[in-house]
């Protein structure tokens, strides 16, 4: 499915550019996007190193393990394939907490660490495990309590009440997250 969407976006983009007599746009966009990829990765490098360094400290000190043990049975219910004391639970929980607090910068390193731990328990290393997909589903739809960026945008645009959308945002995310969990559950059952 990803292959098809990727191809679709690429080809229709080029065709539309050609038809609208603006074929130069394709070259420019492609090169710019490639550059942006490097910029994003370099930007991630710093924060990633910082948080993975701190993570290693927490791991060696036994904090991650205690966090995993403390993790509520709810989280465990969502990941039936994982062992009870799987080391993946620690970073999964940290990632979700960071997402909830809107700390996107910290969330990505924890998320990538969680993926590494999940990969260790994955019998087919080139194929996504069910636990990984569940984790991604939680991640892309995770509740943010304070949508800080958009509040700032509203403030700048002269809103009379920039924070009034917090309630509606939490409601919409909760719906998206509930759907993600349900859809994941259904697809997982069907793929077995």
């Amino acid at each position: 499915m990803v292959n098809l969407i990727w191809l679709f976006m690429l080809l229709t983009g080029i065709v539309v550019s050609a038809l609208s007599g603006n074929i130069n746009q394709v070259t420019e966009s492609a090169l710019k996007a490639a550059e942006l990829g490097i910029e994003v990765a370099i930007g991630l490098m710093g924060v990633m190193s910082l948080w993975l360094g701190i993570m290693r400290l927490a791991e060696k000190a036994g904090l991650i393990q205690s966090l995993a043990k403390l993790s509520s049975p709810v989280i465990r219910l969502l990941f039936p394939d994982l062992k009870k004391d799987s080391p993946a639970f620690g970073p999964i929980i940290l990632n979700l907490c960071a997402n909830i607090l809107g700390l996107g910068n910290a969330a990505t390193p924890f998320g990538l660490k969680a993926m590494q731990e999940l990969q260790k328990e994955n019998p087919y290393p080139d194929t996504a495990s069910s636990a990984m997909i569940t984790f991604l589903a939680l991640n892309t739809s995770c509740i943010t309590i304070i949508p800080a960026t958009i509040i700032a945008v509203r403030m700048k645009a002269g809103s009379s009440n920039p924070t009034e959308i917090i309630g509606t945002t939490i409601f919409a995310t909760a719906c998206a997250m509930g759907t993600a969990i349900t859809a994941d559950f259904i697809f997982r059952k069907r793929s077995k």
Partner: protein, 179 residues
Amino acid sequence: MRIITEAARWAIPFLLFFIPLYAHFRKVPVYETFVEGAEDGFKTAVKIIPFLIGMLVSIRIFVDSGALRFFIELCRPFFDKMGWNPDLLGIIPLAVMRPLSGSGALGVATQLIHQYGPDSFIGRLASTLQGSTDTTFFVLAVYFGSVGIKKHRYALKVGLVADAMGLFASIWIVTKVFG
């Protein structure tokens, strides 16, 4: 509300203070251990580069070429036929952009908020939608890429179903609360 803002403000300083201190008490050589872990950050960031570039190039060509706008225009008669609030058409660019590109979506949301006004229906809807889901394609590319997963199975479907739900829930709740 204040409590949550404060918690977000204190979370990182607290972690940076508490974790090294606790590790020190547990007799962990703090500096060496930190450096050892940080090394992985570099490797992981390099590993995701090809996945990131692959995604970004395709998305960027699709959006910049006007193909995205073209498909949105295709939706217009459908909206008219269904008798939906024509105001809702304004949100389509953001709804399509949201799962594709984080910075792109923020750009579209900002533009909508300025164009329609932050306290208008579309302004509030754009704000709600922007905050309610994450960039599915980015998360997919980066997270799977970092560990070399090439077969995604049903991951994208789950992400997109959740995004669609986020859109409908946003429309419903904004209409209900502010409508």
